[in-house]
Symmetry: C2
Subunit: 393 residues, 2 copies
Amino acid sequence: MTAFGNPSRIERLRTRMAQAGIDLIVSFKPENSFYLTGFNPIIYSHPVIALLPREGEAQVLLHALRDDHARASSFVRDIRLYGAWSTKVTMGLHWQAALQSLVTEAGFANAVIGIEEDFLPVSRHRELQGLFPGASFKDVSGLIMSTRLVKDADEIENCRAAARIADVGMDAAVEAVRAGGSERDIALASMAAMNRFWADTFPDKEVCDFGSLEGGAQNGLWTWALAGERMFMNCDNPTQRRPAQGECVSIFIWTIINGIHAENERTVMVGEVPEANRRALTSILEIREELFPLLKPGTPISALFNGTKAGLEARGYGKYLPGRIGHGIGLGAHEHPSLDARTDIPLEPGMIFTLEPNLRMPGIGATQISDTVLITPDGCEFLTQSVGGLITA
Amino acid sequence: MTAFGNPSRIERLRTRMAQAGIDLIVSFKPENSFYLTGFNPIIYSHPVIALLPREGEAQVLLHALRDDHARASSFVRDIRLYGAWSTKVTMGLHWQAALQSLVTEAGFANAVIGIEEDFLPVSRHRELQGLFPGASFKDVSGLIMSTRLVKDADEIENCRAAARIADVGMDAAVEAVRAGGSERDIALASMAAMNRFWADTFPDKEVCDFGSLEGGAQNGLWTWALAGERMFMNCDNPTQRRPAQGECVSIFIWTIINGIHAENERTVMVGEVPEANRRALTSILEIREELFPLLKPGTPISALFNGTKAGLEARGYGKYLPGRIGHGIGLGAHEHPSLDARTDIPLEPGMIFTLEPNLRMPGIGATQISDTVLITPDGCEFLTQSVGGLITA
């Protein structure tokens, strides 16, 4: 599974490193160390540290118990070990001394070291300052995030696969709504269908996610469903509540393939829903159509938000404006940037984000429709392709 | 679902705050803000900030789109909002200004503020310093972690439920091994069985986990299986590989109920495995029996490691020693402390950890057996109860 040789994002990142005067990136953030190495240990209670010099070969330092796994999946060849684990030969018990040796031997002890100030905990930062008193540290959070914003060909391919799985999950979820299932029945049927499709269709792809520092996420194919007034929970575990006739139920699906996420969300009407709710759904679908011509290179992201705002106001929904109408997606399920009024970044080919203008009207009803959209040289491609119209169960 | 009134851990924590001279804890770490509020938003791309004063009522500050969800699940009554979301009235767009108001109004602008230096990113720390130039900041990572080490009655109850689910998952996994399934078949059958059991048996319990800052973990009922030499991967997504006759396959299960994890791991022999591997498995089971009398209040954790070391050396396995033989478990799947030679903490009633002395012998074979164990006033209780002997498929 290992394909040595750097993906093109590494060169894009190095160009930015040169512009910013960064000699070496020392990365601890799970999403980023995966970006720089191709290795996700799934659980990060022992840090994985990626070292990317502006020139020359990258290295990765990890606990000995992750050695076999890393060798099977990383595109970085130079793997170093710390800790104690059976017969593994390591650089010592602790990552701190091992990192000090590696950086010093490579001649970077007095260099400009790029660190992730949006992630690096205070205590670890203090340790780094102690290990490299002659170095100067510079934040590279934004530099890495802006590189991540435009996806490489392999990332787009992975997102397309994640979106296909999410579409399979949506079909199964809608079927479960039609069968009269509870929120949990809907979620379980959908997750089972996605897992089976993954297991049979993508023999070499991984579905693990990036866990917390204390935990890990072995399988990131997730569906949840919120019925009726529970749509206002936005993100909650499914309950045993069954959608009643005349209610809407929202289906939320997140998937991940080789580190790259997709999102597919739909609102299903169960029987005849009240006119106010139906009108909200129709309005959102119309607004999505109105945004379509803007989904192309050059459009500032704020124009998508402002288009939504104008569309909602024109239909009398001015007091229900959301704070944003989507977000970047990739190694993060929710990553930079927000699609809001303040973000002026122009769309570029290779960007992927969710498009989800929606309404939350307390006491009246809600809508939840989201797609994962790729910007192409000529316009865009909807990677999720579930029926976007009104679905009636 | 909301039971107002503080769980007893809050009082234990406040005692420690008084001893350390901490006036107010400002918590951003997902596991800890959940510990202090009972609220897990599942996704943390907008921070949830828990404020616990040494005396008086706690508060929680969160994005407006999480308001309904938080009100339905937090035991903290005083919920404040930032951001913009439909008709929600908030303290302003940004958490920074809202936090500054809250802390200043409560009279803590010049107080001793406890922060999580093991989690708080450098950039957020800098923001806090700017918001409260008169405050002094003190690390409370260890203080919270040592409080978490001893579980409350509700946490023990949740761990027992998580362990029951894991046992159901193990039965289904072993059945799938017997049916000749691949690693993926085994994992999928096990996860489906656990999800069904959860959905039917625990109507009011949640199975979401704590995600990363960019992601979220909607469902944390996970099984993976590693066959033959793939056992050396330790933590990896399951593949389409099928265990062959004469091989072992390891089943790893992590579950979570209302934030508390359980772990259940077993090694299954498929037919007649080579004598060297069988002897390793038998030896590990014997060593577990030898440790049993030590599993009671007062035993220093290092004694469990040293007992394992002695047992392995006595059987000729001295060159395959692991770095640790288990770890704390609770809000983290892997939490403080490690069961290793350097950890002298004495066992106390209410502590929960994994017991997993195991062998990794390159070219020969491996074992993987782990249980979730609660220390009781008289000894211990194995919360996971799958057959611990040799399982043959």
